[in-house]
Symmetry: C2
Subunit: 368 residues, 2 copies
């Protein structure tokens, strides 16, 4: 075992789908796994114990946000993300590049990195591959992500090729700047070009990353295009390492990607949509705001074991809380949605162990 304590083992395969165990200094994560997003060091509205109860054993925190506030040095002084946020399990941080790209103002890209201005106070920052590693090192996550270049959906092939090449150069610089106690994942780019993706996966596979991610999906392209590419690209990522599909997705997206051999996911969908009043169920999403629920005594989903459904909160009460601006409903819907995701990846894993994944995925995606 390395200084990072990182290990990954595949315990079963079912076609391209895999069931595995990922180990970090903070314990084990059974894969496939879904990482709830704790942007600013908190999975919005929930305590760590509540996140844990949904089955999650790894969360994602955003380097960009924590770097700007409270500052990586503060987090380091308080013992790193796990001690700071009271999340006892594994934490992964992104590189900060995506938010520097999407949130920050007057961003410019050079071969050295991103220059951007904070969306909070306009202060100027330079995000290089080395700085991304330094900041993530201070944050003390178990898994750091390399800085990458993510071209927008529909970018011309030359721009995608340039992004791939720059990402590879930054991959080497990231690894040169790594801390031994932190695992680092490389990020495969290449847009919707299967050949670029496969070539990039092979290139990054040569480097001593502990895991390999696929970035640049779910950036606006038709979702079936993503799945068309994924099914060809995911199996080409070194099978001895965990494969992480960044920023994806719906329950259906997860199942299709698991079927293609992906092990790890993160997405704001279950948490953000909860705060917009949306409860995700196996038979689709419902908006708790709708007038049809005003005197509906049923829970969101009779068959669900989450605290919101199990304790008998009615749709009528949840609707009342939402329309009244009560915070409790944001918590309950977030718990419900993350519970569904936690159960989904757990059941997917069990199906892989039984070599029945394809049938399970079909039954879930097309419920009776």
């Amino acid at each position: 075992m390395s200084a990072s304590g990182f290990a990954f083992e595949t315990v079963a395969e079912d076609g391209p789908a895999r069931a595995g165990v990922l180990t970090t200094r903070h314990g084990q994560v059974l894969t496939p796994t879904f990482m709830p997003v704790g942007t600013q060091g908190s999975v919005k509205t929930l305590t760590p114990a509540e996140v844990e109860a949904t089955g999650a054993r790894i969360v994602l925190a955003n380097t960009y946000h924590l770097w700007l506030r409270p500052g990586a040095e503060i987090v380091a002084e308080l013992g790193g993300l796990s001690a700071f946020t009271r999340w006892p399990h594994t934490t992964l941080t992104d590189s900060g590049g995506y938010q520097a790209f999407s949130l920050a103002e007057r961003r410019t890209l050079s071969d050295d990195g991103f220059v951007f201005r904070s969306h909070l106070d306009g202060s100027k920052h330079l995000l290089t591959p080395e700085e991304a590693m330094r900041v993530q090192g201070l944050l003390g996550s178990d898994i750091a992500m390399q800085l990458d270049v993510c071209p927008p959906a529909g970018a011309p092939r030359e721009e995608v090729e340039a992004a791939v090449e720059q990402t590879t150069r930054w991959a080497r610089r990231s690894l040169a700047a790594r801390r031994p106690e932190q695992a680092v994942f490389g990020i495969v780019q290449g847009g919707l070009h299967v050949d670029l993706r496969v070539r990039h996966a092979a290139e990054l596979g040569e480097l001593p990353f502990e895991g390999l991610a696929m970035g640049g999906f779910s950036v606006g392209e038709p979702i079936e295009e993503m799945h068309r590419v994924l099914v060809e690209v995911a199996p080409s990522l070194d099978k001895r390492r965990p494969r992480y599909l960044m920023g994806v997705g719906t329950p259906r997206d997860l199942l299709l990607a698991i079927g293609a051999g992906v092990d790890m996911f993160d997405c704001v969908l279950p948490t953000r949509n909860a705060r917009n009043g949306q409860a995700i169920t196996r038979s689709g999403a419902i908006s708790i705001k709708q007038a049809q629920y005003k005197n509906d005594p049923a829970p969101i989903d009779e068959a669900c074991g989450c605290p919101c459904c199990r304790l008998g909160y009615s749709r009528a009460y949840l609707r009342h809380l939402f329309l009244s601006g009560e915070i409790l409903v944001l918590r309950l819907l977030t718990q419900h949605n993350l519970w569904l995701y936690g159960e989904l990846v757990q059941k997917a894993r069990e199906a892989i162990l039984r070599h029945e994944f394809a049938a399970f995925a079909r039954s879930y995606i097309e419920p009776r």
Copy 2:
């Protein structure tokens, strides 16, 4: 036992201070007790289980708010407040008069009741003593409050006298309109006039209310004026019935009032101030926003047993969450503050049982 299942027994006296047991259809409440405020059917940010963990066995809900949204008929259809909100213990509702007075628009008062327009949609409503009882009956609280007239601080004596007389007339009308399964409390008015208060307490004491409240305090008068009046008035309320001081107050206010013989309190202070970033401690309140906490690893209060302090959330993390607009901190501070209130009334009760209340109150109010 009456159809309301209501009973009150004093188990110990220590000077004017009393320790008691209040019983409703939803169980027992040890007194003195503090009622967290669940304005719209939710103690803001918390689940019922979390409220219960603070020691509370009774919460207050606001009739005005629930009447207008979701509507008392909806709450009745869903089984009443306890079933609707999943709070398994006792609920008390106010009459709606105070909010109709303070929140509604174009409010007019006649001998019949209040005519007001909803602050939500401008719709016109008439709140009479009978309507207040009907709405509270639909809400299904264990304890209903009579509609009263609460003059503003500094009102001339004649206005206060008129309010007292109207409140007595409305007391009789409220009792005539009561449901047998609901306990009803009368409300003593009289401003800062001890003679009016004592006379009103005697008048209402003649009526078959299950409990007697004191309204019209904490409406802007100097707080020492309230305590001066309380110490003379509270002991004059029929000692066989619970005494409820409405809308009060700070930990110090509670202790002084318990010392005067009060059994029940409600106040938005611990919950509202939490949402403004204030944590209440035995040595005073702290604002978690302050820069001095930016790298402070200590919990709010080392000696506190609440989840926020016990699980080691640092002031630095709480400050970060507050400045970042994260909902989790509102929950944690609310739990902390209500925990302090729950512990305060529990310790006050134990001190009364030991006949050491005066010493306990002194040590709490003037900590070393």
